[in-house]
Each structure stands twice: as structure tokens, then as C-alpha cells.
């Protein structure tokens, strides 16, 4: 059995003690690329928030192998455009977990953030206002910010939401490239089946209160797909 970085045991997730999904037991292999799929309202974001520790599990256990740290990439559309922050300012926030209160990021940390922006091809957006960047450009800055946390697990919440088709393809290829180069564990929430099929190794499919977990080859068979879509239509 491969080395698991995240293990969920009989996990139930939801709000105010009410479970929206329960009985989730699965393991996510270290260094894997896992896509979390499901229609709106099936609990994808709730699962992500619970994994990240942003909201408590209703019951069950989440085991994260240390020293795994999360690099979180939220949806770019959620940020308030009122903040006059540059791309660099946003990416620099990735270092704030290491730079405590009453301290300021050192020159070395700033250089590291510039490296992260370069790695995500977002160097050109460093001095531009974050609010004025396009959806795809914002996502690259946010991925640079997540890399600046020096994570072992990269968690992306619908990074292609609001991004055009060409930019979506390029973004997914780029995430795939980072995954391979940096040996990161990637958890990606998305709706885009063709791109998932191309890039992901494992799938967590949230569907009608059930959680299907397997490899792309196991879940993307015509029989399983027909079963899932039949259930969705039904």
C-alpha cells in the first residue's frame, strides 16, 4: 500500500452538527493528484473546508501525516476588489505563517516569493493591482502564494471558475507540471471532467450523499459513468 498523507475514517461533514455527507473513509496517497468532483451542493466545499480545519467535522477522524502543510488556493472570485494590493502583496501572504507577529518578511522571504511568482509565470503581475488581473492571472498569483507557504499538499478550490477555456487548459497543465516537478500532493475541486481525466490520478466523486473513490481508470468506465449520471438524472 502506498504512503498515505491524508486518511479519513468514518468522517461525517456538515454544518451546525447536521451531516451533509457521512461515512467517508478513504486515504489520499502522498504525491498523488486527486480531483474532487460533484454537482453543486454535494458537499465539495464543505469537505475541503473540513480537511483544511476551517470547520469542524460532525464526526469521525481526519489523520494528516506530519509534517504535511496545506497550500490553499481559494477561488479568485471571492476576493474583495476594494483592497489595493499588488500581485506581490498577495503572494507575500504565503510567508505569513512563518513570519510571526511584530516581524516583517525578510529579504530572503521576499526573494523566495519572487521565485514562486516566476515559477507560476506570474512575475509580470507582481506590481499590478490584484483586483485588476484576469481570472487566470489571479489564479497564478494565488498558486504562487500557496507555493510560498512551502506546502506538501496543494489544495485548489475550483481554480478554473470564471476562467476562459484556453486559460483553463493552460492552468490545469501548469498545475500538473508543478505537481510533478515539486512532488506535491494535489487536491483539486473542479467540474471539468475532460481535464480531470487527463491530469488526475485519483477521483473523489461526491454524489447524492455517497462518496465514490477510485482511480480515473476505475471510475471513468462507461458503466460507472452511466450509473452516476443515471443517478443524477433520477
Amino acid at each position: 500500500m502506498s504512503d498515505s498523507v491524508i486518511t479519513l475514517e468514518s468522517l461525517a461533514i456538515g454544518y451546525d452538527g447536521q451531516a451533509v455527507l457521512s461515512g467517508i473513509s478513504l486515504a489520499i496517497a502522498r504525491g498523488s493528484f486527486t480531483a474532487i468532483l460533484g454537482a453543486n451542493g454535494t458537499g465539495k466545499s464543505t469537505l475541503l473546508k473540513t480537511l483544511l480545519g476551517l470547520q469542524p467535522a460532525v464526526s469521525g477522524q481526519i489523520k494528516i501525516q506530519p509534517p504535511a502543510g496545506f497550500g490553499y488556493v481559494p477561488q479568485a472570485t471571492q476576493f474583495d476588489p476594494l483592497y489595493p494590493l499588488t500581485g506581490f502583496d498577495v503572494a507575500l501572504m504565503g510567508t505569513f505563517g512563518r513570519v510571526g507577529p511584530m516581524r516583517f518578511p525578510s529579504r530572503a522571504e521576499k526573494d523566495f516569493v519572487r521565485d514562486c511568482l516566476r515559477a507560476t509565470a506570474a512575475e509580470g503581475f507582481a506590481q499590478k493591482k490584484f483586483s485588476q488581473l484576469s481570472g487566470g492571472q489571479k489564479q497564478r498569483v494565488l498558486i504562487a502564494r500557496a507555493l510560498a507557504t512551502k506546502p506538501e499538499i496543494l489544495v485548489l478550490d475550483e481554480p478554473t471558475a470564471g476562467v476562459d477555456v484556453a486559460a483553463t487548459k493552460s492552468l490545469l497543465e501548469f498545475i500538473s507540471q508543478i505537481h510533478e516537478e515539486r512532488k506535491l500532493t494535489v487536491l483539486l475541486v473542479t467540474h471539468d471532467l475532460p481535464l480531470v481525466k487527463k491530469h488526475a490520478q485519483q477521483i473523489i466523486w461526491l454524489h447524492d450523499g455517497a462518496v465514490l473513490h477510485g482511480t480515473v481508470a476505475e471510475l471513468f468506465t462507461p458503466e460507472r459513468m452511466a450509473e452516476i449520471f443515471e443517478m443524477e438524472v433520477g
Partner: protein
């Protein structure tokens, strides 16, 4: 120019009022930046009024107990400060808690708090026979009779607030901009929220006590809103808002002194004129840039 020279002279009779006005002018916009960024502008309106009600309640307590007021006594100012602080902090924490829960109508809560606080202040003072002697002036912002003690208290409090803002600016900005990311990196979001609300509450209390609710509201929000039109990054945002507030305080005092106008309303109208001019200027520049 002669008037400005005169009011900035160390021998000027009302120098403490000028210094206090300028201190408030520089400091309030720095806190106001966070109110604007967190879209809590209405809180900036309601808080100074609630803080004033705290002053009215605190000053009414000795009257209810049968004690005679001594308007010159520092103990009365301390009592007023305590009342202002208590009401400001209680209100900001309560309103922020409701904001976090995200239930109900936020504007409705703030509007109700504002109007009830205003009415309560008037009711309390109308039933207090000593009110007109000096307390109404205090509530309106008795900006012309600030003694060295009050100036020192205001200066020390604002210096403390500015130091905290400088030291924890990174954390305040982070939890304001992206709470989820801050939480995943181990930041205690609730603690930083409470701390920033405390700083806002302290600033509002001390400024209401020194210059009154009208000027406090003006300096909290208008310089920050004006600076936001031009700022390209956070450093520019803070610097522009603070400098604009400080300069307007000096200029407003000069105009009020020269034309014998009340200082508070002069400052606020001047801030409004600057904001309108800046907004119009920006629109014209954008239109011109669009044509080219």
C-alpha cells in the same frame, strides 16, 4: 497663510486644540482604512454616536447619585472616557459578532443602533439640569478648551493605537483580506479580529471625547474613501489617508479661526469638498485617458 502661521505658532492660545485636532486628523484615517476595507462604513457612522451615548450615561451616573458635577475636574473626563470606551467596545464587539454570523440585515442593525443611541443621548441630557453647563459642549466636541492633561491623554492613546497598527499591520491585513488562508496558516483569526475592533473602539472613544462624534466620523471615513480613489497599494492607501486627514485638520482649523466658524463642521465640510473634488478629478482623468 498668516492665519496658518498664527495657529501653528507655539504661543497660540488655542494650540492644544490645534494639536488635538491634528492628532485625530492623522490617526483616525489609519483606523478608518480598515473600516472601509471591511465594508463597515455604517459602523463608522454608528460607533461615534454610540460612544457619545456612553459619555452621556457615564456623566449622568453621578447626577443620578446626587453628586454635583465639576466640569474642570479630570475625574469627570476619566469617567466620560470610561463610559465612551465601554459603550464603544461593547457595541463594536456585539455588532462584529452579528456580522460574523451573517444573519439578519447588517445595515438595519447599524441604523437602529445609530438612531437609538442618538435619541438616548438627548433623553439623558434633557433630564439632567447640569447638562447645558458643559456636558453638551463635551458631547459636541469642546475643541477650544483642551488642557495639557487632555492633550497628553489623547496623544498617548493615539500613539499606542498607531504602534499596535504598525506592529500588527500584517496580521490585520491578512485576516481582513483572506480569513480562510490565515486560518490554514495557524493564525488565530478571532483574536486578531477582536484586537482590531479594540483599536477601532479606543480610537473612536478618544476622538469622540476630544472632538465629538461628527468630526470623529468625518476623519474616520472621508480621508480613507478619498485616498482609496488614488492608492495603488496599501502603503499609499495608509499614507494618503493619514496625510490628508492631518492636513485637512490644520486647514480646517485655520479657516474656522479666520472666519469664526465652528471647527468641527468646518473640518467635515472641507473633507467633503476635497472628496468631491478628488472623485470628479479622477472621473475627468479617466474620461480623458479613455479618449486618448
Amino acid at each position: 497663510m498668516e492665519t496658518l502661521k498664527e495657529i501653528l505658532s507655539p504661543d497660540f492660545l488655542l494650540r492644544n486644540s490645534v494639536y488635538t485636532s491634528v492628532l485625530i486628523g492623522f490617526a483616525c484615517p489609519l483606523v478608518g482604512v480598515f473600516l472601509v476595507l471591511r465594508r463597515l462604513v455604517f459602523m463608522g457612522v454608528a460607533l461615534p454616536q454610540i460612544s457619545s451615548t456612553g459619555v452621556a450615561v457615564a456623566l449622568s451616573v453621578p447626577f443620578w447619585l446626587g453628586a454635583k458635577p465639576d466640569h474642570a475636574a479630570h475625574s469627570e473626563h476619566l469617567l466620560a472616557f470610561a463610559g465612551s470606551m465601554f459603550f464603544s467596545l461593547a457595541a463594536i464587539l456585539l455588532l462584529a459578532f452579528c456580522e460574523r454570523r451573517g444573519r439578519g440585515l447588517s445595515e438595519g442593525r447599524l441604523g437602529t443602533a445609530y438612531v437609538v443611541a442618538s435619541a438616548l443621548s438627548i433623553l439623558l441630557l434633557s433630564k439632567n439640569r447640569y447638562a447645558e453647563v458643559g456636558w453638551l459642549d463635551l458631547l459636541k466636541g469642546e475643541i477650544i478648551t483642551i488642557d495639557n492633561y487632555d492633550l497628553a491623554i489623547t496623544g498617548a492613546t493615539l500613539a499606542l493605537v498607531l504602534t499596535m497598527l504598525l506592529l500588527f499591520h500584517k496580521e490585520f491585513l491578512f485576516v481582513s483580506f483572506d480569513r480562510a488562508m490565515a486560518a490554514t496558516l495557524g493564525k488565530n483569526v478571532l483574536l486578531w479580529d477582536i484586537l482590531i475592533y479594540l483599536l477601532i473602539g479606543v480610537t473612536v472613544s478618544i476622538s469622540v471625547l476630544s472632538v465629538g462624534p461628527l468630526i470623529s466620523f468625518g476623519f474616520l471615513l472621508v480621508p480613507a474613501l478619498t485616498a482609496h480613489l488614488f492608492a495603488r497599494n496599501m502603503k499609499q492607501f495608509f499614507a494618503l489617508a493619514s496625510v490628508l486627514g492631518g492636513l485637512t485638520a490644520v486647514l480646517g482649523f485655520g479657516l474656522a479661526y479666520q472666519w469664526d466658524w465652528p471647527v468641527g463642521p468646518t473640518d467635515v465640510v472641507l473633507l467633503g469638498v476635497i472628496y468631491a473634488a478628488a472623485w470628479s478629478g479622477q472621473r475627468v482623468c479617466r474620461l480623458a485617458a479613455g479618449k486618448n
